[in-house]
Protein backbone atom coordinates (compact mmCIF):
# COMPACT_ATOMS: atom_id res chain seq x y z
CA UNK A 1 0.00 0.00 0.00
CA UNK A 2 1.49 3.23 -1.01
CA UNK A 3 1.31 5.83 1.75
CA UNK A 4 1.06 8.68 -0.71
CA UNK A 5 -2.07 7.19 -2.29
CA UNK A 6 -3.81 6.85 1.07
CA UNK A 7 -2.81 10.31 2.28
CA UNK A 8 -3.97 11.93 -0.97
CA UNK A 9 -7.30 10.15 -0.68
CA UNK A 10 -7.78 11.27 2.92
CA UNK A 11 -6.97 14.85 1.86
CA UNK A 12 -9.41 14.62 -1.01
CA UNK A 13 -12.29 13.48 1.17
CA UNK A 14 -11.50 15.94 3.94
CA UNK A 15 -11.83 18.66 1.30
CA UNK A 16 -15.15 17.21 0.10
CA UNK A 17 -16.41 17.04 3.67
CA UNK A 18 -15.32 20.54 4.59
CA UNK A 19 -17.06 21.78 1.47
CA UNK A 20 -20.41 20.86 3.04
CA UNK A 21 -22.33 23.48 4.98
CA UNK A 22 -22.41 21.78 8.37
CA UNK A 23 -18.78 20.74 8.60
CA UNK A 24 -17.56 24.01 7.14
CA UNK A 25 -19.41 25.93 9.82
CA UNK A 26 -17.97 23.70 12.53
CA UNK A 27 -14.37 23.65 11.50
CA UNK A 28 -13.51 26.48 9.12
CA UNK A 29 -13.56 30.22 9.48
CA UNK A 30 -15.44 32.32 7.02
CA UNK A 31 -18.54 31.66 4.98
CA UNK A 32 -18.79 28.83 2.50
CA UNK A 33 -19.37 30.80 -0.64
CA UNK A 34 -20.28 29.05 -3.86
CA UNK A 35 -16.88 29.86 -5.29
CA UNK A 36 -15.03 28.49 -2.28
CA UNK A 37 -17.16 25.35 -2.36
CA UNK A 38 -16.31 24.76 -6.02
CA UNK A 39 -12.64 25.40 -5.40
CA UNK A 40 -12.53 22.93 -2.50
CA UNK A 41 -14.31 20.26 -4.49
CA UNK A 42 -11.98 20.78 -7.44
CA UNK A 43 -9.02 20.43 -5.11
CA UNK A 44 -10.57 17.26 -3.69
CA UNK A 45 -11.01 15.73 -7.13
CA UNK A 46 -7.47 16.69 -8.09
CA UNK A 47 -6.04 14.93 -5.09
CA UNK A 48 -8.06 11.79 -5.91
CA UNK A 49 -6.67 11.86 -9.45
CA UNK A 50 -3.18 12.41 -8.07
CA UNK A 51 -3.74 9.43 -5.79
CA UNK A 52 -4.64 7.28 -8.80
CA UNK A 53 -1.46 8.34 -10.55
CA UNK A 54 0.57 7.52 -7.44
CA UNK A 55 -1.10 4.11 -7.16
CA UNK A 56 -0.47 3.27 -10.82
CA UNK A 57 3.15 4.37 -10.62
CA UNK A 58 3.56 2.16 -7.55
CA UNK A 59 1.62 -0.91 -8.65
CA UNK A 60 1.21 -0.82 -12.43
CA UNK A 61 -2.10 -0.89 -14.27
CA UNK A 62 -3.30 -4.16 -12.79
CA UNK A 63 -2.73 -3.61 -9.07
CA UNK A 64 -2.74 0.20 -9.14
CA UNK A 65 -6.47 0.74 -9.70
CA UNK A 66 -7.35 -1.94 -7.13
CA UNK A 67 -5.16 -0.31 -4.51
CA UNK A 68 -6.52 3.09 -5.45
CA UNK A 69 -10.09 1.87 -4.95
CA UNK A 70 -9.08 0.49 -1.57
CA UNK A 71 -7.39 3.75 -0.67
CA UNK A 72 -10.46 5.74 -1.76
CA UNK A 73 -12.63 3.75 0.64
CA UNK A 74 -10.06 4.06 3.40
CA UNK A 75 -9.74 7.79 2.78
CA UNK A 76 -13.49 8.27 2.81
CA UNK A 77 -13.76 6.32 6.05
CA UNK A 78 -10.92 8.21 7.71
CA UNK A 79 -12.38 11.56 6.64
CA UNK A 80 -15.82 10.52 7.85
CA UNK A 81 -14.46 9.54 11.27
CA UNK A 82 -12.25 12.63 11.54
CA UNK A 83 -15.02 15.04 10.64
CA UNK A 84 -17.62 13.44 12.90
CA UNK A 85 -15.62 12.21 15.83
CA UNK A 86 -12.46 14.33 16.06
CA UNK A 87 -12.63 16.67 19.06
CA UNK A 88 -13.95 20.12 18.29
CA UNK A 89 -10.63 21.85 18.94
CA UNK A 90 -9.21 20.39 15.74
CA UNK A 91 -10.36 23.13 13.44
CA UNK A 92 -9.17 26.03 11.42
CA UNK A 93 -11.30 28.63 13.16
CA UNK A 94 -9.51 31.31 15.00
CA UNK A 95 -12.17 32.05 17.57
CA UNK A 96 -14.43 29.07 17.78
CA UNK A 97 -16.13 29.91 21.10
CA UNK A 98 -17.40 33.11 19.70
CA UNK A 99 -19.11 31.25 16.92
CA UNK A 100 -20.57 28.38 18.86
CA UNK A 101 -22.61 30.46 21.30
Amino acid sequence: MSCATVLLCICGFLLFGLATEAHHRRRCSGVLSARRCTAMRAAGWSSLVAALLAAVIGGGWDFGPVRWTGAVMLGAGAAFLLLNFAPAWICYKRRQRHWED
Partner: protein, 533 residues
Protein backbone atom coordinates in the same frame (compact mmCIF):
# COMPACT_ATOMS: atom_id res chain seq x y z
CA UNK B 1 -43.37 9.68 -11.27
CA UNK B 2 -39.96 9.79 -9.68
CA UNK B 3 -41.56 9.58 -6.25
CA UNK B 4 -43.37 6.43 -7.27
CA UNK B 5 -40.19 4.93 -8.64
CA UNK B 6 -38.30 5.71 -5.47
CA UNK B 7 -41.03 4.23 -3.32
CA UNK B 8 -41.15 1.04 -5.32
CA UNK B 9 -37.38 0.81 -5.01
CA UNK B 10 -37.77 1.36 -1.29
CA UNK B 11 -40.17 -1.57 -1.07
CA UNK B 12 -37.74 -3.73 -3.04
CA UNK B 13 -34.83 -2.63 -0.86
CA UNK B 14 -36.68 -3.37 2.37
CA UNK B 15 -37.91 -6.81 1.49
CA UNK B 16 -34.98 -8.13 -0.54
CA UNK B 17 -32.77 -7.00 2.33
CA UNK B 18 -34.90 -8.38 5.12
CA UNK B 19 -35.77 -11.83 3.83
CA UNK B 20 -32.23 -12.92 3.08
CA UNK B 21 -30.51 -10.52 5.45
CA UNK B 22 -29.81 -13.17 8.05
CA UNK B 23 -28.08 -15.44 5.55
CA UNK B 24 -26.20 -12.47 4.15
CA UNK B 25 -25.05 -11.62 7.65
CA UNK B 26 -23.59 -15.10 8.06
CA UNK B 27 -22.01 -14.95 4.61
CA UNK B 28 -20.48 -11.54 5.31
CA UNK B 29 -19.11 -12.53 8.71
CA UNK B 30 -17.62 -15.79 7.44
CA UNK B 31 -16.20 -14.14 4.33
CA UNK B 32 -14.66 -11.31 6.33
CA UNK B 33 -12.97 -13.74 8.68
CA UNK B 34 -11.85 -15.84 5.72
CA UNK B 35 -9.65 -12.98 4.47
CA UNK B 36 -7.41 -14.09 7.34
CA UNK B 37 -7.81 -17.77 6.59
CA UNK B 38 -4.09 -18.47 6.50
CA UNK B 39 -3.46 -16.50 9.66
CA UNK B 40 -6.25 -18.34 11.46
CA UNK B 41 -4.90 -21.64 10.20
CA UNK B 42 -1.83 -20.87 12.25
CA UNK B 43 -3.69 -19.23 15.14
CA UNK B 44 -5.81 -22.32 15.62
CA UNK B 45 -2.72 -24.54 15.69
CA UNK B 46 -0.66 -22.85 18.39
CA UNK B 47 1.75 -25.80 18.51
CA UNK B 48 3.16 -24.83 15.12
CA UNK B 49 6.13 -22.53 14.86
CA UNK B 50 6.27 -20.13 11.95
CA UNK B 51 8.01 -21.41 8.85
CA UNK B 52 11.28 -19.54 8.46
CA UNK B 53 12.85 -21.64 5.73
CA UNK B 54 10.24 -22.86 3.21
CA UNK B 55 12.75 -24.74 1.05
CA UNK B 56 13.87 -26.86 3.98
CA UNK B 57 10.25 -27.79 4.65
CA UNK B 58 9.89 -28.76 0.99
CA UNK B 59 13.00 -30.96 1.10
CA UNK B 60 11.81 -32.71 4.27
CA UNK B 61 8.36 -33.16 2.77
CA UNK B 62 9.95 -34.98 -0.17
CA UNK B 63 12.04 -37.15 2.15
CA UNK B 64 8.95 -37.98 4.20
CA UNK B 65 6.84 -38.90 1.19
CA UNK B 66 9.62 -40.96 -0.40
CA UNK B 67 9.74 -42.97 2.82
CA UNK B 68 6.01 -43.11 3.55
CA UNK B 69 4.38 -43.40 0.14
CA UNK B 70 7.07 -44.29 -2.40
CA UNK B 71 4.65 -45.97 -4.82
CA UNK B 72 1.73 -43.55 -4.54
CA UNK B 73 -0.26 -42.51 -7.58
CA UNK B 74 0.49 -38.88 -6.81
CA UNK B 75 1.77 -36.55 -4.13
CA UNK B 76 0.46 -33.09 -3.45
CA UNK B 77 2.76 -30.71 -1.59
CA UNK B 78 1.81 -27.09 -0.89
CA UNK B 79 4.92 -24.92 -0.83
CA UNK B 80 5.14 -23.50 2.68
CA UNK B 81 5.45 -19.76 3.16
CA UNK B 82 6.12 -17.62 6.20
CA UNK B 83 2.36 -17.17 6.51
CA UNK B 84 1.22 -20.75 6.02
CA UNK B 85 0.63 -23.30 8.74
CA UNK B 86 3.47 -25.59 7.75
CA UNK B 87 2.93 -27.71 4.67
CA UNK B 88 -0.24 -29.83 4.69
CA UNK B 89 0.65 -32.53 2.17
CA UNK B 90 -1.31 -35.54 1.06
CA UNK B 91 -0.92 -38.41 -1.33
CA UNK B 92 -3.23 -40.57 -3.40
CA UNK B 93 -2.42 -44.30 -3.26
CA UNK B 94 -2.35 -46.43 -6.40
CA UNK B 95 -5.94 -47.39 -7.27
CA UNK B 96 -6.74 -50.88 -6.06
CA UNK B 97 -8.18 -52.80 -9.04
CA UNK B 98 -10.21 -55.00 -6.66
CA UNK B 99 -11.76 -52.13 -4.75
CA UNK B 100 -15.37 -51.23 -5.54
CA UNK B 101 -15.84 -48.18 -7.70
CA UNK B 102 -15.97 -44.83 -5.98
CA UNK B 103 -14.19 -45.88 -2.79
CA UNK B 104 -10.86 -44.61 -4.03
CA UNK B 105 -11.90 -40.98 -3.89
CA UNK B 106 -10.34 -38.58 -1.48
CA UNK B 107 -12.27 -37.48 1.54
CA UNK B 108 -14.03 -39.40 4.21
CA UNK B 109 -12.11 -41.61 6.54
CA UNK B 110 -9.36 -42.59 4.17
CA UNK B 111 -8.11 -39.05 3.87
CA UNK B 112 -6.70 -38.96 7.36
CA UNK B 113 -4.27 -41.79 6.69
CA UNK B 114 -2.89 -40.25 3.53
CA UNK B 115 -1.97 -36.82 4.76
CA UNK B 116 0.59 -35.22 7.03
CA UNK B 117 1.53 -31.81 8.27
CA UNK B 118 5.19 -30.90 7.95
CA UNK B 119 6.13 -28.25 10.49
CA UNK B 120 8.71 -25.48 10.37
CA UNK B 121 11.46 -27.81 11.60
CA UNK B 122 10.78 -30.25 8.77
CA UNK B 123 9.36 -32.94 11.02
CA UNK B 124 5.84 -34.27 10.95
CA UNK B 125 4.02 -32.00 13.34
CA UNK B 126 1.53 -33.40 15.80
CA UNK B 127 -1.01 -30.64 16.24
CA UNK B 128 -4.55 -30.44 17.50
CA UNK B 129 -7.06 -31.57 14.95
CA UNK B 130 -8.83 -28.48 13.62
CA UNK B 131 -10.11 -27.08 10.37
CA UNK B 132 -8.61 -23.71 11.21
CA UNK B 133 -9.46 -20.72 9.08
CA UNK B 134 -10.42 -23.02 6.21
CA UNK B 135 -13.71 -23.65 8.03
CA UNK B 136 -14.75 -20.02 7.61
CA UNK B 137 -13.80 -20.14 3.95
CA UNK B 138 -16.14 -23.09 3.40
CA UNK B 139 -18.83 -21.68 5.68
CA UNK B 140 -18.84 -18.57 3.49
CA UNK B 141 -20.38 -20.41 0.54
CA UNK B 142 -21.05 -24.00 1.63
CA UNK B 143 -22.71 -23.17 4.96
CA UNK B 144 -22.76 -26.29 7.18
CA UNK B 145 -24.86 -29.34 7.97
CA UNK B 146 -26.45 -29.26 4.54
CA UNK B 147 -25.69 -30.53 1.06
CA UNK B 148 -23.16 -28.28 -0.65
CA UNK B 149 -25.32 -27.78 -3.71
CA UNK B 150 -28.28 -26.48 -1.72
CA UNK B 151 -26.03 -24.22 0.27
CA UNK B 152 -24.52 -22.73 -2.88
CA UNK B 153 -27.93 -22.15 -4.42
CA UNK B 154 -29.06 -20.48 -1.23
CA UNK B 155 -25.95 -18.29 -1.01
CA UNK B 156 -26.16 -17.56 -4.74
CA UNK B 157 -29.77 -16.48 -4.37
CA UNK B 158 -28.90 -14.38 -1.32
CA UNK B 159 -26.12 -12.68 -3.32
CA UNK B 160 -28.54 -11.84 -6.11
CA UNK B 161 -30.89 -10.31 -3.57
CA UNK B 162 -27.91 -8.46 -2.16
CA UNK B 163 -27.19 -6.98 -5.57
CA UNK B 164 -30.85 -5.97 -5.81
CA UNK B 165 -30.70 -4.47 -2.32
CA UNK B 166 -27.56 -2.48 -3.09
CA UNK B 167 -28.84 -1.05 -6.35
CA UNK B 168 -32.31 -0.26 -5.03
CA UNK B 169 -30.67 1.12 -1.88
CA UNK B 170 -28.69 3.63 -3.91
CA UNK B 171 -31.96 4.81 -5.45
CA UNK B 172 -33.91 4.79 -2.18
CA UNK B 173 -31.40 6.64 -0.10
CA UNK B 174 -30.57 8.92 -2.98
CA UNK B 175 -29.24 11.57 -0.67
CA UNK B 176 -26.54 9.27 0.65
CA UNK B 177 -23.87 10.85 -1.49
CA UNK B 178 -24.74 14.41 -0.57
CA UNK B 179 -25.32 13.60 3.08
CA UNK B 180 -22.36 11.32 3.18
CA UNK B 181 -20.40 13.27 5.77
CA UNK B 182 -23.37 13.78 8.06
CA UNK B 183 -23.85 11.68 11.15
CA UNK B 184 -26.58 12.71 13.57
CA UNK B 185 -25.81 11.00 16.82
CA UNK B 186 -28.30 9.89 19.50
CA UNK B 187 -31.29 10.64 17.32
CA UNK B 188 -32.91 7.21 17.25
CA UNK B 189 -34.01 6.19 13.81
CA UNK B 190 -32.04 8.96 12.07
CA UNK B 191 -28.82 7.78 13.65
CA UNK B 192 -29.46 4.19 12.59
CA UNK B 193 -30.19 5.40 9.08
CA UNK B 194 -27.08 7.59 8.98
CA UNK B 195 -24.97 4.69 10.23
CA UNK B 196 -26.52 2.29 7.72
CA UNK B 197 -25.86 4.77 4.92
CA UNK B 198 -22.34 5.55 6.05
CA UNK B 199 -21.10 1.94 6.09
CA UNK B 200 -22.94 1.27 2.83
CA UNK B 201 -21.57 4.24 0.93
CA UNK B 202 -18.11 4.15 2.43
CA UNK B 203 -17.45 0.74 1.04
CA UNK B 204 -19.87 0.92 -1.89
CA UNK B 205 -17.21 -0.02 -4.47
CA UNK B 206 -16.36 -3.00 -2.31
CA UNK B 207 -19.97 -4.05 -1.82
CA UNK B 208 -20.70 -3.92 -5.52
CA UNK B 209 -17.48 -5.68 -6.40
CA UNK B 210 -17.79 -8.41 -3.77
CA UNK B 211 -21.42 -9.17 -4.59
CA UNK B 212 -20.94 -9.23 -8.33
CA UNK B 213 -17.71 -11.23 -8.27
CA UNK B 214 -19.28 -13.52 -5.67
CA UNK B 215 -21.94 -14.34 -8.21
CA UNK B 216 -19.21 -14.93 -10.78
CA UNK B 217 -17.62 -17.57 -8.54
CA UNK B 218 -20.94 -19.43 -8.61
CA UNK B 219 -21.80 -18.69 -12.23
CA UNK B 220 -21.31 -22.20 -13.55
CA UNK B 221 -23.85 -23.39 -11.00
CA UNK B 222 -26.35 -20.55 -11.31
CA UNK B 223 -26.28 -20.21 -15.08
CA UNK B 224 -24.98 -23.39 -16.64
CA UNK B 225 -26.61 -22.90 -20.03
CA UNK B 226 -23.65 -21.41 -21.89
CA UNK B 227 -21.54 -24.38 -20.89
CA UNK B 228 -24.30 -26.89 -21.67
CA UNK B 229 -24.91 -25.35 -25.08
CA UNK B 230 -21.27 -25.46 -26.12
CA UNK B 231 -19.83 -28.52 -24.43
CA UNK B 232 -21.46 -31.91 -24.31
CA UNK B 233 -18.74 -33.42 -22.17
CA UNK B 234 -17.98 -32.04 -18.72
CA UNK B 235 -14.39 -33.10 -19.07
CA UNK B 236 -13.97 -31.06 -22.24
CA UNK B 237 -14.85 -27.78 -20.52
CA UNK B 238 -12.65 -28.81 -17.61
CA UNK B 239 -9.72 -29.33 -19.96
CA UNK B 240 -10.28 -25.92 -21.55
CA UNK B 241 -10.60 -24.07 -18.25
CA UNK B 242 -8.03 -25.98 -16.26
CA UNK B 243 -5.47 -27.41 -18.66
CA UNK B 244 -3.22 -30.08 -17.22
CA UNK B 245 -0.09 -31.80 -18.39
CA UNK B 246 -0.72 -34.88 -20.55
CA UNK B 247 -1.00 -37.99 -18.38
CA UNK B 248 1.74 -40.59 -18.75
CA UNK B 249 1.34 -44.31 -18.07
CA UNK B 250 3.38 -45.82 -15.28
CA UNK B 251 6.33 -47.74 -16.75
CA UNK B 252 7.16 -49.89 -13.74
CA UNK B 253 10.86 -49.05 -14.01
CA UNK B 254 12.09 -47.43 -10.83
CA UNK B 255 13.96 -44.16 -11.11
CA UNK B 256 14.86 -41.67 -8.39
CA UNK B 257 12.88 -38.46 -8.25
CA UNK B 258 14.74 -35.22 -8.86
CA UNK B 259 15.22 -32.84 -5.90
CA UNK B 260 11.99 -30.84 -5.69
CA UNK B 261 13.84 -27.79 -4.39
CA UNK B 262 15.69 -27.57 -7.68
CA UNK B 263 12.41 -27.78 -9.61
CA UNK B 264 10.77 -25.18 -7.38
CA UNK B 265 13.69 -22.79 -7.81
CA UNK B 266 13.66 -23.26 -11.59
CA UNK B 267 9.91 -22.75 -11.78
CA UNK B 268 10.06 -19.61 -9.65
CA UNK B 269 12.77 -18.23 -11.92
CA UNK B 270 10.75 -18.94 -15.06
CA UNK B 271 7.44 -17.71 -13.64
CA UNK B 272 9.00 -14.71 -11.97
CA UNK B 273 6.79 -15.40 -8.97
CA UNK B 274 6.66 -17.76 -5.99
CA UNK B 275 5.35 -21.32 -6.46
CA UNK B 276 2.31 -22.29 -4.44
CA UNK B 277 2.06 -26.04 -4.84
CA UNK B 278 3.85 -29.00 -6.35
CA UNK B 279 2.13 -32.09 -7.60
CA UNK B 280 4.09 -35.23 -8.41
CA UNK B 281 2.47 -38.03 -10.36
CA UNK B 282 3.96 -41.54 -10.36
CA UNK B 283 6.85 -40.66 -8.02
CA UNK B 284 9.76 -43.06 -8.08
CA UNK B 285 8.85 -44.26 -11.58
CA UNK B 286 10.67 -43.48 -14.79
CA UNK B 287 7.50 -41.75 -16.00
CA UNK B 288 7.29 -39.39 -13.01
CA UNK B 289 5.92 -35.93 -13.78
CA UNK B 290 5.99 -32.79 -11.66
CA UNK B 291 3.55 -29.89 -11.99
CA UNK B 292 4.31 -26.58 -10.31
CA UNK B 293 1.58 -23.95 -9.89
CA UNK B 294 2.33 -20.28 -9.52
CA UNK B 295 1.21 -18.62 -6.31
CA UNK B 296 -1.84 -16.36 -6.66
CA UNK B 297 -0.21 -13.68 -4.50
CA UNK B 298 1.60 -12.34 -7.54
CA UNK B 299 -1.33 -11.83 -9.89
CA UNK B 300 -4.94 -10.71 -9.90
CA UNK B 301 -5.98 -13.83 -11.78
CA UNK B 302 -6.61 -16.85 -9.53
CA UNK B 303 -6.10 -19.25 -12.41
CA UNK B 304 -2.36 -19.09 -12.33
CA UNK B 305 -0.01 -20.60 -14.88
CA UNK B 306 1.55 -24.02 -14.33
CA UNK B 307 4.78 -25.65 -15.44
CA UNK B 308 5.29 -29.36 -16.04
CA UNK B 309 8.62 -31.13 -15.52
CA UNK B 310 10.04 -34.54 -16.12
CA UNK B 311 10.35 -36.04 -12.65
CA UNK B 312 13.62 -37.86 -13.34
CA UNK B 313 15.65 -35.47 -15.45
CA UNK B 314 14.06 -32.26 -14.19
CA UNK B 315 13.61 -31.03 -17.76
CA UNK B 316 10.77 -28.58 -18.51
CA UNK B 317 8.21 -30.47 -20.62
CA UNK B 318 5.03 -28.44 -20.61
CA UNK B 319 3.66 -24.97 -19.98
CA UNK B 320 -0.01 -24.29 -19.41
CA UNK B 321 -1.38 -22.53 -22.49
CA UNK B 322 -2.60 -18.95 -22.06
CA UNK B 323 -6.29 -18.98 -21.15
CA UNK B 324 -8.98 -17.29 -23.20
CA UNK B 325 -10.38 -13.86 -22.47
CA UNK B 326 -13.52 -15.17 -20.74
CA UNK B 327 -11.59 -17.51 -18.46
CA UNK B 328 -9.14 -14.72 -17.73
CA UNK B 329 -11.97 -12.33 -16.85
CA UNK B 330 -13.54 -14.88 -14.55
CA UNK B 331 -10.17 -15.61 -12.98
CA UNK B 332 -9.52 -11.93 -12.31
CA UNK B 333 -12.98 -11.47 -10.83
CA UNK B 334 -12.53 -14.43 -8.51
CA UNK B 335 -9.12 -13.05 -7.65
CA UNK B 336 -10.65 -9.70 -6.75
CA UNK B 337 -13.27 -11.47 -4.65
CA UNK B 338 -10.88 -13.64 -2.68
CA UNK B 339 -8.13 -11.03 -2.44
CA UNK B 340 -5.41 -13.67 -2.47
CA UNK B 341 -3.04 -11.20 -4.11
CA UNK B 342 -3.51 -8.65 -1.34
CA UNK B 343 -0.51 -7.58 0.72
CA UNK B 344 -0.90 -6.76 4.41
CA UNK B 345 -2.26 -3.25 3.86
CA UNK B 346 -4.75 -4.10 1.15
CA UNK B 347 -5.84 -7.22 3.03
CA UNK B 348 -6.65 -5.05 6.02
CA UNK B 349 -8.76 -2.80 3.81
CA UNK B 350 -10.58 -5.89 2.53
CA UNK B 351 -11.17 -6.87 6.16
CA UNK B 352 -12.42 -3.40 7.10
CA UNK B 353 -14.73 -3.36 4.09
CA UNK B 354 -16.02 -6.77 5.11
CA UNK B 355 -16.79 -5.39 8.56
CA UNK B 356 -18.48 -2.45 6.84
CA UNK B 357 -20.65 -4.87 4.88
CA UNK B 358 -21.46 -6.84 8.03
CA UNK B 359 -22.48 -3.65 9.80
CA UNK B 360 -24.49 -2.58 6.78
CA UNK B 361 -26.52 -5.80 6.83
CA UNK B 362 -26.88 -5.76 10.62
CA UNK B 363 -27.93 -2.10 10.82
CA UNK B 364 -30.34 -2.63 7.95
CA UNK B 365 -31.98 -5.53 9.80
CA UNK B 366 -32.22 -3.56 13.03
CA UNK B 367 -33.51 -0.53 11.14
CA UNK B 368 -36.50 -2.56 9.99
CA UNK B 369 -37.63 -2.90 13.61
CA UNK B 370 -36.55 0.60 14.69
CA UNK B 371 -38.65 2.13 11.95
CA UNK B 372 -41.73 0.07 12.70
CA UNK B 373 -41.58 0.24 16.49
CA UNK B 374 -42.65 3.89 16.48
CA UNK B 375 -45.70 3.15 14.42
CA UNK B 376 -46.88 0.11 16.34
CA UNK B 377 -50.43 0.57 17.58
CA UNK B 378 -49.50 -1.00 20.91
CA UNK B 379 -45.71 -1.12 21.52
CA UNK B 380 -46.14 -3.53 24.42
CA UNK B 381 -47.75 -6.17 22.24
CA UNK B 382 -46.26 -5.95 18.77
CA UNK B 383 -47.69 -8.13 16.03
CA UNK B 384 -46.22 -11.54 15.25
CA UNK B 385 -44.14 -10.50 12.22
CA UNK B 386 -42.47 -7.77 14.20
CA UNK B 387 -41.68 -10.15 17.03
CA UNK B 388 -40.21 -12.74 14.68
CA UNK B 389 -37.89 -10.21 13.06
CA UNK B 390 -36.91 -8.76 16.42
CA UNK B 391 -36.04 -12.15 17.91
CA UNK B 392 -34.30 -13.41 14.77
CA UNK B 393 -32.17 -10.28 14.75
CA UNK B 394 -30.92 -11.05 18.23
CA UNK B 395 -30.45 -14.74 17.44
CA UNK B 396 -28.38 -14.00 14.33
CA UNK B 397 -26.67 -10.64 14.81
CA UNK B 398 -25.68 -11.25 18.42
CA UNK B 399 -25.83 -15.04 18.30
CA UNK B 400 -23.34 -15.62 15.49
CA UNK B 401 -20.52 -13.73 17.25
CA UNK B 402 -21.25 -15.82 20.34
CA UNK B 403 -21.06 -18.98 18.22
CA UNK B 404 -17.73 -17.93 16.72
CA UNK B 405 -16.36 -17.08 20.14
CA UNK B 406 -17.52 -20.56 21.18
CA UNK B 407 -15.63 -22.09 18.24
CA UNK B 408 -12.41 -20.31 19.17
CA UNK B 409 -12.72 -21.35 22.80
CA UNK B 410 -13.48 -24.94 21.78
CA UNK B 411 -10.32 -24.81 19.69
CA UNK B 412 -8.36 -23.93 22.82
CA UNK B 413 -10.14 -26.05 25.42
CA UNK B 414 -11.22 -29.34 23.82
CA UNK B 415 -9.03 -32.29 24.69
CA UNK B 416 -6.17 -32.55 22.19
CA UNK B 417 -6.60 -36.26 21.63
CA UNK B 418 -10.38 -36.18 21.34
CA UNK B 419 -12.00 -38.19 18.56
CA UNK B 420 -13.50 -36.06 15.78
CA UNK B 421 -12.09 -33.03 17.50
CA UNK B 422 -12.24 -30.84 14.38
CA UNK B 423 -15.94 -31.55 13.96
CA UNK B 424 -16.64 -30.92 17.62
CA UNK B 425 -15.08 -27.48 17.42
CA UNK B 426 -17.66 -26.69 14.79
CA UNK B 427 -20.46 -28.36 16.73
CA UNK B 428 -19.60 -26.07 19.62
CA UNK B 429 -20.03 -23.06 17.42
CA UNK B 430 -23.55 -24.17 16.61
CA UNK B 431 -24.28 -25.18 20.21
CA UNK B 432 -23.30 -21.71 21.44
CA UNK B 433 -25.32 -20.18 18.64
CA UNK B 434 -28.33 -22.32 19.55
CA UNK B 435 -28.05 -21.19 23.17
CA UNK B 436 -28.10 -17.61 21.93
CA UNK B 437 -31.19 -18.36 19.89
CA UNK B 438 -32.94 -19.86 22.90
CA UNK B 439 -32.09 -16.81 24.99
CA UNK B 440 -33.38 -14.60 22.19
CA UNK B 441 -36.65 -16.51 22.17
CA UNK B 442 -37.26 -16.69 25.89
CA UNK B 443 -35.94 -13.44 27.30
CA UNK B 444 -37.26 -9.94 26.67
CA UNK B 445 -35.44 -8.42 23.66
CA UNK B 446 -33.57 -5.69 25.49
CA UNK B 447 -32.24 -8.11 28.07
CA UNK B 448 -31.50 -10.74 25.43
CA UNK B 449 -29.38 -8.30 23.41
CA UNK B 450 -27.37 -7.54 26.53
CA UNK B 451 -26.89 -11.16 27.58
CA UNK B 452 -25.83 -12.48 24.20
CA UNK B 453 -23.70 -9.51 23.11
CA UNK B 454 -22.14 -9.24 26.55
CA UNK B 455 -21.29 -12.93 26.68
CA UNK B 456 -19.82 -12.92 23.14
CA UNK B 457 -17.82 -9.79 23.92
CA UNK B 458 -16.49 -11.16 27.21
CA UNK B 459 -15.47 -14.46 25.60
CA UNK B 460 -13.62 -12.70 22.77
CA UNK B 461 -11.91 -10.21 25.05
CA UNK B 462 -10.68 -13.02 27.28
CA UNK B 463 -9.13 -15.06 24.44
CA UNK B 464 -5.92 -13.04 24.01
CA UNK B 465 -5.41 -13.29 27.76
CA UNK B 466 -5.72 -17.07 27.62
CA UNK B 467 -3.29 -17.17 24.70
CA UNK B 468 -0.74 -15.02 26.47
CA UNK B 469 -0.76 -17.17 29.58
CA UNK B 470 -1.30 -20.71 28.33
CA UNK B 471 0.04 -20.92 24.78
CA UNK B 472 3.55 -20.23 23.55
CA UNK B 473 2.19 -17.76 21.01
CA UNK B 474 0.50 -15.04 23.01
CA UNK B 475 0.47 -11.44 21.91
CA UNK B 476 3.79 -10.52 23.54
CA UNK B 477 5.63 -13.56 22.20
CA UNK B 478 4.21 -12.96 18.75
CA UNK B 479 5.28 -9.32 18.70
CA UNK B 480 8.69 -10.22 20.09
CA UNK B 481 9.25 -12.71 17.26
CA UNK B 482 7.95 -10.26 14.66
CA UNK B 483 4.88 -12.39 13.97
CA UNK B 484 2.39 -9.60 13.46
CA UNK B 485 -0.22 -11.86 11.92
CA UNK B 486 -0.86 -13.75 15.16
CA UNK B 487 -0.56 -10.57 17.22
CA UNK B 488 -3.01 -8.90 14.84
CA UNK B 489 -5.56 -11.71 15.17
CA UNK B 490 -5.38 -11.50 18.96
CA UNK B 491 -5.79 -7.74 18.76
CA UNK B 492 -8.74 -8.02 16.37
CA UNK B 493 -10.49 -10.46 18.72
CA UNK B 494 -9.92 -8.12 21.63
CA UNK B 495 -11.17 -5.08 19.72
CA UNK B 496 -14.25 -6.84 18.35
CA UNK B 497 -15.01 -8.23 21.83
CA UNK B 498 -14.66 -4.77 23.33
CA UNK B 499 -16.95 -3.32 20.69
CA UNK B 500 -19.59 -5.96 21.46
CA UNK B 501 -19.33 -5.17 25.18
CA UNK B 502 -19.75 -1.45 24.47
CA UNK B 503 -22.82 -2.13 22.35
CA UNK B 504 -24.27 -4.29 25.14
CA UNK B 505 -23.65 -1.45 27.59
CA UNK B 506 -25.21 1.01 25.22
CA UNK B 507 -28.32 -1.15 24.99
CA UNK B 508 -28.49 -1.28 28.78
CA UNK B 509 -28.17 2.50 29.15
CA UNK B 510 -30.59 3.16 26.34
CA UNK B 511 -33.26 1.23 28.16
CA UNK B 512 -32.99 3.01 31.46
CA UNK B 513 -32.43 6.56 30.24
CA UNK B 514 -33.91 7.10 26.84
CA UNK B 515 -37.01 4.95 26.93
CA UNK B 516 -39.43 7.14 28.89
CA UNK B 517 -38.68 10.34 26.99
CA UNK B 518 -38.38 8.61 23.68
CA UNK B 519 -41.79 8.95 22.25
CA UNK B 520 -41.91 12.73 22.42
CA UNK B 521 -38.91 13.55 20.19
CA UNK B 522 -39.73 10.75 17.78
CA UNK B 523 -43.25 12.08 17.40
CA UNK B 524 -41.95 15.52 16.52
CA UNK B 525 -39.34 14.17 14.15
CA UNK B 526 -42.04 12.21 12.40
CA UNK B 527 -43.21 15.43 10.82
CA UNK B 528 -39.81 16.08 9.34
CA UNK B 529 -38.99 14.54 6.06
CA UNK B 530 -39.18 10.82 6.56
CA UNK B 531 -36.80 8.64 4.61
CA UNK B 532 -38.62 6.34 2.28
CA UNK B 533 -37.01 3.17 3.46
Amino acid sequence: MSKGFRQSQGFLHTWSGLLLGWILFLVFVAGTIAFYREGLNRWMRPELARVENPMRVLARAQTYLAHKAPHAKSWFIPVATRQSAGSQLFWVPQPDPNAPKGSGRRGGRGRRDTQALIGADGKVATVRETRGGDFFYRLHFDLHYMPVIWARWLVGFASMMMLVAILSGVVTHKKIFRDFFTLRRSKGQRSWLDGHNAVAVLALPFHLMITYTGLVTLMALLMPWAVIANYTDERAIGAVLFPTMPVVERTGRAAPLVDLRRIAADAERRLGAPASSIQVSEPGDAAARITVSQSPISTLNTRTPQLGYDGVTGRLLWQSPPTGAAAETAGVMIGLHAGRFADAGLRFIYFLCGIGGTLMVASGLVLWTVKRRERLPDPRHPHLGFRIVERLNIAVIAGLPLGIAGLFWANRLLDIGMRNRAEWEIHWMFIAWAIAAIVALLVRPRIAWQIVLGLAGALLVALPGYNAVLTPRGMLDAVASGDFMLAGIDTAMFVVGLALLLIARRVALHRSVARPGRRAPSASSAHEERPTL
